[in-house]
């Protein structure tokens, strides 16, 4: 008959450096065991096992579903009214309407290829090109790339797009 | 912690105070009254003699007079005693802080003592049965049932009405033995009065020069200072209670005093009239209200506005009837005054011709505390001078007339009028 006693780790093992976490866990288990033993005569089975169907909620505002009491009407406090509007929108489950696009996806794709935008692939290509090819291309490229690449400031809205 | 945790009383937050200050500046009051308009005063008499409930708006006060036979003090061996007791604890929401509560109680009690006891409104000598042995001890218990401002006026009206309503049994003193007659044997006797004082309360605000009369609790708590003036029906000043932080100038006080005098007079008339009606009602059987009716407000109430509106129409007749107590000439001056007062708003009082007396009273405003005796004596001097210049002013005449009918005042003037300052 196999013994039901849980195997315990020896103190020597637990004192080892890499066993610190386990040590804490074991200590907690012991504590729980003790407290359970302490209160066992006061806690009855009913209290332990009854999963009551009642939840106690002492707040009227939550029970009755009261609205927030801070309100402003007809422009008395614009800041507050903005907050109220936001809240109302949220409640009605409406998200922020999408910003109208200045540039359609179609246009975007066209511009992408027109610019031969895969710039990264180009630069990577450079790395692997032989010196000869590189020089050749450079001489070819030079007259073409008259226009100096410049940094275009992103629109402010572009940042927000990712969350909508 | 528990004791001072409650701020149910209105007027304790900054917005309330600021708002009231602003409203006073614009001459708006919360209940739509004008700054010099009073709330209606209602009197209800109970079944017993000397039981009166007074309500001024939501403020309700119950006064009960009782009496027994006791020994006089050795200093005044031939006088009965008058004891005034105020109980303010019935108002649950006033438990804000014990200190404030006590202060309120003390202020009210001292006002009543000065109005009724120090001014000697009762003829205490008539309450003497045997010198140095037995006198009547009259006791007035005033219970505050609800406080919505102006407890002072409500209490003084209640106390006066209750005292006037009260009847004591007759006694005989034969061969060292006191015999008290029951109501069946001999008719009960009313108390004897020398004069009839009531108070009028004003609130002064820093933001406005116009004081508010008959303040609600909100107005009272938000006020910078409260002025309580007690006048009797002869328009003599009995008490002046001025305190607080608002600078009060002579003109404000005089303006208050003038209208308070006429108001007091009207109030006393009203109480008399109410007493008459009550006496009529008592002639009929089963018409007397008990305490329950009193508090239920099912008992017949006698309203100031209602009674005095009638009064206005029958003013002249009334004056004849009442002249038993008061000199006729006085009656007339005041009835004029009073009708102007109650009918319409007294527009910023016509510039008083105060050049003659103002300089002399300048020191009063410096002191912030006005001694009633000084006040009346000082007025006397300039007004007579005024009369010499033959520029009659009604307001002043009133004060001239105020002096003659009181020769008895001379010997008691030290206790007649006195003033303290409440902070």
């Amino acid at each position: 008959m196999p013994s039901k006693v849980k195997p315990r780790l020896s103190r020597g093992v637990l004192d080892m450096k890499f066993m610190q976490r386990t040590k804490a866990k074991v200590a907690k288990e012991d504590d729980d065991e003790q407290s359970r033993a302490l209160y066992s005569n006061e806690l009855n089975q009913k209290m332990l096992n009854s999963n009551s169907n009642f939840i106690i909620e002492p707040s009227y505002s939550i029970c009755a579903g009261l609205i927030d009491g801070r309100l402003s009407f007809r422009g008395m406090n614009p800041e507050l009214e903005r907050l109220m509007e936001l809240e109302l929108a949220e409640k009605q489950g409406r998200t922020r309407p999408d910003q109208p696009k200045d540039i359609t996806d179609q246009e975007m794709a066209e511009a992408y290829y027109a610019n031969q935008a895969p710039a990264a692939s180009k630069t990577m290509n450079k790395k692997f090109a032989t010196k000869n090819e590189f020089n050749k291309r450079k001489s070819n490229d030079n007259p073409k790339s008259q226009k100096k690449p410049e940094f275009k400031k992103p629109r402010q809205d572009d940042d927000d797009d990712d969350d909508s | 912690m528990f004791m001072n945790a409650n701020l149910f009383e209105p007027g304790k937050s900054k917005p309330e105070r600021n708002f009231i200050q602003g409203a006073v500046k614009q001459n708006t009051r919360f209940d739509g009254r004008k700054s010099n308009e009073f709330r209606d005063v209602k009197l209800t008499f109970g079944a017993d003699w000397g039981t009166v409930a007074v309500s001024i708006g939501e403020t309700k006060v119950l006064a009960q007079v009782s009496c027994d036979i006791g020994t006089p003090s050795s200093a005044r061996a031939n006088e009965g005693t008058l004891f005034l007791n105020v109980d303010i604890k019935g108002v649950a929401f006033l438990d804000e802080a014990q200190a404030t509560h006590d202060q309120r109680f003390l202020t009210l009690n001292s006002l009543l003592e000065r109005t009724f006891k120090s001014s000697r409104c009762l003829d205490l000598e008539s309450l003497c049965i045997a010198v140095e042995q037995s006198v009547w001890c009259v006791r007035v218990d005033i219970n505050v049932l609800n406080h919505d401002g102006n407890l002072y006026d409500a209490s003084t009206i209640a106390a006066l009405a209750a005292l006037m309503h009260f009847r004591r049994p007759e006694v005989s003193y034969v061969e060292e033995e006191i015999r008290t007659f029951s109501e069946r044997e001999r008719e009960l006797l009313p108390l004897l009065f020398l004069h009839y004082p009531v108070s009028v309360t004003y609130c002064v605000y820093k933001s406005s020069s116009q004081p508010l009369v008959d303040p609600t609790l909100l107005e009272e708590n938000a006020a910078d200072s409260v002025i309580v003036l007690s006048f009797n029906s002869y328009q003599e000043l009995c008490t002046l209670n001025a305190g607080g932080t608002a600078p009060t100038n002579v003109r404000t006080i005089m303006q208050c005093a003038r209208s308070a005098a006429s108001r007091s007079k009207a109030l006393v008339q009203f109480i008399r009239k109410a007493l008459e009606l009550d006496a009529e009602r008592r002639q009929q059987p089963n018409q007397v209200a008990g305490l329950v009716d009193l508090l239920n407000e099912s008992a017949p109430q006698l309203s100031f506005k209602h009674l005095m509106a009638e009064q206005g129409q029958t003013e002249t007749n009334k004056a004849d009837q009442l002249s038993g107590d008061e000199p006729m000439q006085l009656q007339e001056t005041v009835s004029e005054e009073q009708t102007t007062d109650t009918s319409t708003q007294k527009i910023p009082e016509p510039q008083m011709d105060d050049s003659s007396w103002l300089p002399q009273e300048q020191n009063l405003s410096e002191e912030q505390q006005v001694d009633g005796v000084q006040l009346s004596s000082k007025q006397e001097v300039p007004t007579t001078a005024k009369a010499g210049k033959s520029k009659p002013n009604r307001g002043k005449n009133k004060f001239v007339k105020k002096q003659p009918p009181t020769p008895r005042k001379q010997n008691q003037s030290d206790s007649e009028e006195e003033v303290t300052q409440i902070i």
Binding site: P58, A64, D68, F73 | L7, K12, E16
Partner: protein, 232 residues
């Protein structure tokens, strides 16, 4: 909200709720208490039910009992160390930390003085310790909470405060027709109003105070009559 108004008294067993609890989880609001498997009322008043599973007693009361999550109006009474003591109309003073305001740090303290009005949320409410308030939401933003400036302030019954805050209550909307205004209603029976002029504020406050005595049906009538009140 169902309109069945069965009045229950303290100590009474509330079987409707017990029956409902057999089939689903039930939320017991204020005025109801579970004793073993029984549900017993602790307050007197009409029993209210909100779908799907909430029950509570809507008793008339003027004394506020703090509950976590309530939005209330308090008056600052004193400062004590790192705390302000605030009167919220409950048995005990509440406390609010200096740091419970937007953008407040140890150096940058909010400037509150005794007598100031606060619109705040109850963070902690327990019978044994004094209630704690906050003036920020969980993101550290002010939102609608904070100090109420100017305006007028008055007290009413807790019921009136709750009545105004019901989603279906027509009162505030009806008043909007009359004039622009700003209002803060605390569920602790305190109301703060602000309109453009003193006169309008007085009218507004009086209109709301008359609602105390009014039934639900009369509300619109009174609010519509506001213009009449203000001319008077």
């Amino acid at each position: 909200m169902s309109t069945n108004t069965s009045i229950i008294m303290p100590g009474e067993r509330v079987t409707i709720v017990e029956d409902a609890a057999k089939s689903k989880r039930i939320i017991l609001g204020p005025g109801l208490r579970r004793v073993d498997e029984k549900v017993v009322a602790t307050k007197a008043g009409p029993l209210r039910h909100k779908e799907p599973n909430t029950f509570w007693v809507d008793n008339y009361q003027r004394r506020y009992v703090p509950a976590r999550g309530d939005l209330i109006i308090g008056i600052v009474k004193a400062r004590a160390g790192d705390l302000y003591r605030v009167d919220i109309g409950a048995a005990d003073l509440a406390s609010i930390s200096y740091l419970a305001f937007e953008a407040a740090t140890k150096k940058n303290r909010p400037d509150l003085n005794p007598g100031d009005l606060l619109y705040a949320r109850v963070l902690n409410a327990n019978a044994d310790i004094e209630p704690e308030l906050v003036c920020v939401n969980s993101n550290g933003k002010r939102g609608k909470l904070g100090v109420l400036q100017d305006g007028f302030f008055f007290k009413c019954s807790l019921n009136l405060g709750r009545l105004l805050l019901r989603e279906s209550c027509p009162a505030l909307a009806a008043l909007t027709e009359e004039l622009p205004y700003e209002i803060a209603v605390g569920v602790n029976g305190r109301i703060w109003v602000k309109a453009h002029s003193t006169r309008e504020t007085v009218g507004l406050a009086n209109a709301i105070m008359t609602l105390e005595q009014a039934g639900y049906a009369e509300i619109e009538k009174i609010c519509g009559n506001l213009s009449g009140v203000m001319q008077a």
